[in-house]
């Protein structure tokens, strides 16, 4: 009897397994479609992850990544003890916090302004114009920035015509962070406003009517209806940018960097580039890069959990 039952059970599980297998094999075309993207992501995203071991090794070109000798945490110790460390970390954090804080409100203000605009044409023009710089390349944006602020650019022309002396903006460390942040806001404010505009457009008109009946003027309406409605969007965007605190875009900082402003423009990622690709210290620069991405990942998880507890909004 027991024997019979176990035989039956075995047959049943075999049938289930068979039908599960059939479910998979029947969709072989879909798996085949995924094959090339999968091979791509493995070669260009996961294979480099195996290269992270270089952070704990002394790279030797003859022995390759896998054959090079282990050195433990030596590169990390060297980095944390180096004279550069505090400057690099300080510049990276202050630059991205400045960017985060200064860049947070302009898109919200712009979105509310666009949402409340009375003329359709004005609304459309503002949106179209402010969104445009987003499509310019970083090279073009930094090019425009440098030309505007150059010795013969418009800013210095105005200063000179008012009787002042020309300022070498890009050659002065004190100006670097503001140049970086505000040219970034100039480029991205229209793009960043899009999601807020969508959130505002989704507000139930009855809420506005109720507010008006209660005698609320437009300022109160914005404060009590608009702002709460866009908070979830704002929080998600804030989480996403917080996780990038150490990942300040390499490209733009590198493009605005020069030997004169280096003391305030050298950040972790430009350091990784310089030590790795210019000085070919692969092990050391991989370690510095790993430090940056691990801290970023931890920050993202931390801010996300914090936000889920406090505001019930989170990325996952």
């Amino acid at each position: 009897m027991e024997n019979l039952q176990s035989v039956l059970r075995e047959q049943k599980t075999a049938a289930v397994r068979k039908s599960a297998l059939a479910k998979v094999t029947r969709r072989w075309r879909l798996y085949l479609m995924l094959l090339i993207p999968l091979v791509y992501i493995i070669i260009f995203r996961y294979v480099p992850m195996t290269g992270i071991q270089l952070a704990f090794k002394n790279y030797n070109a003859r022995l390759g990544i896998w054959g090079s000798p282990w050195v433990g945490f030596k590169h990390f110790r060297d980095f944390f003890r180096s004279a550069q460390f505090s400057r690099l970390l300080g510049n990276t954090i202050s630059l991205s916090l400045y960017n985060l804080i200064a860049g947070f409100f302009p898109p919200i203000i712009l979105a509310i302004g666009i949402n409340e605009a009375r003329w359709n044409r004005l609304r459309k023009t503002v949106q179209m114009v402010t969104y445009a710089p987003y499509f310019l390349s970083t090279v073009v944006v930094t090019g425009i920035t440098m030309q505007l602020l150059s010795g013969s650019g418009v800013v210095n022309t105005i200063i000179k015509n008012m009787g002042g002396t020309a300022i070498n903006f890009l050659g002065t460390p004190g100006y670097f962070k503001s140049i970086y942040v505000w040219s970034g806001i100039w480029q991205h404010v229209g793009y960043d406003a899009i999601l807020y505009i969508a959130a505002l457009a989704a507000i139930n008109p009855e809420l506005y009517e109720a507010a008006t009946v209660d005698g609320a003027n437009i300022w109160k309406r914005i404060w009590h209806v608009d702002i709460p409605s866009i908070m979830p969007t704002a929080i998600v965007l804030l989480i996403m940018s917080t996780s990038r605190v150490l990942n300040v875009g390499f490209e733009k900082v590198y493009l605005l960097q020069n030997s004169l402003n280096l003391s305030s423009s050298k950040i972790i990622s430009t350091y990784v580039y310089k030590m790795g690709l210019v000085n070919t210290e692969y092990g050391f620069s991989t370690a510095v890069g790993l430090f940056q991405s691990v801290v970023s990942l931890l920050l993202m998880v931390l801010v996300n959990n914090l936000s889920r507890k406090v505001t019930e909004t989170s990325l996952w």
Binding site: P37, F44, R45, V47, V129, Q147
Partner: protein, 303 residues
């Protein structure tokens, strides 16, 4: 008391609203001016005479209009090489990008595909964590891609974020009933994909093609680290070389005896090159703008 204060409130509210709208209109017009001014200034400088630029006469509109700088561009070899290279990078690159993105996004959008969650995770995990600059460079180098045209195309063959956008689009816009009906009629996944999904996805194909094409035109970082042969350069790399070094420009314009004058000419040329490098995008921008907004919206929805 209450009946008297209510109309009063309403009058005050409408007065506040008027003030708000005046402030708001001024603010929006200011925003337009702030964004447009640098662009207009760069264009004006590129069209002005060398004398006007070097003596600081240009503020908003071009002075002594001349096309001299653009004539120089048309005869500068490095710029022409960059332009012809970009046709290859953008066309071949975008084709490859879109193919891979769709091939990846569609299977992952089918909710009854076994293992779908895990497969999706393999892709999205790379958005949060990666090997970093050096291991990626070493991988590309070990594949022998350094200083080849493939270096600007294959390592960036698919953008996971665009794939997620395409996947969300498939989930939200292609009704399951449509696919199920076709399956009942005996169509297999391949037929469903080519006969139903693709014809119904023209919008998303257009949006992600544009995303990728703009990306190729604007690509700089990969070009900088993977290429050092000038004949392979893309426009951004050429542009950067010109902006960064006046010296290179002096050599290219050649035959100039007066160094100061050459420096002034190089200055005007920089403005012209900036305009030139952003021209293709700014010309198509008004037409493609709404597609991009749509793309951003689709991407913001959770799949």
């Amino acid at each position: 008391m209450t009946t008297a204060s209510k109309p009063n409130n309403r009058i005050r509210a409408s007065w506040d609203n008027t003030i708000f709208h005046i402030i708001n209109t001024v603010f929006l017009v200011l925003m337009i001016l702030v964004v447009i001014f640098p662009l207009l200034y760069v264009i004006s400088m590129s069209l002005s005479s060398v004398e006007a630029v070097s003596t600081g006469k240009v503020y908003l509109f071009p002075v002594d209009i001349t096309l001299q700088a653009y004539r120089t561009i048309a005869t500068t070899k490095s710029i022409l090489v960059g332009m012809s290279n970009t046709v290859f990078y953008a066309v071949v690159g975008t084709l490859l990008n879109v193919t891979l993105t769709i091939l990846c996004a569609y299977p992952l959008s089918r909710n009854n595909l076994p293992g779908r969650k895990f497969l999706l995770w393999i892709f999205t995990f790379t958005m949060m964590f990666g090997g970093g600059m050096i291991p990626t460079y070493l991988t590309v180098r070990s594949l022998g891609l350094i200083n080849t045209r493939a270096a600007l195309i294959i390592p960036s063959a698919m953008n996971v974020w665009n794939m997620v956008i395409a996947r969300t689009f498939f989930i939200n816009t292609i009704p399951d009933e449509l696919i199920e009906a076709a399956e009942i009629d005996g169509a297999h996944d391949g037929q469903v994909f080519f006969r139903i999904v693709i014809p119904n996805s023209v919008t998303i194909l257009a949006v992600i093609s544009l995303f990728y094409a703009v990306g190729h035109w604007n690509q700089y970082f990969d070009a900088m680290i993977y290429l050092n042969k000038p004949e392979l350069y893309n426009p951004q790399l050429v542009l950067r070389t010109i902006i960064a070094s006046t010296q290179a420009m002096l050599e290219q314009t050649g035959s100039l005896i007066d160094a100061a004058k050459a420096a002034d000419q190089a200055e005007v040329l920089k403005y012209a090159v900036i305009v030139f490098a952003s021209l293709p995008i700014m010309i198509v921008y008004p037409f493609i703008q709404r597609f991009f907004i749509k793309g951003v919206m689709v991407g913001s929805l959770k799949g």
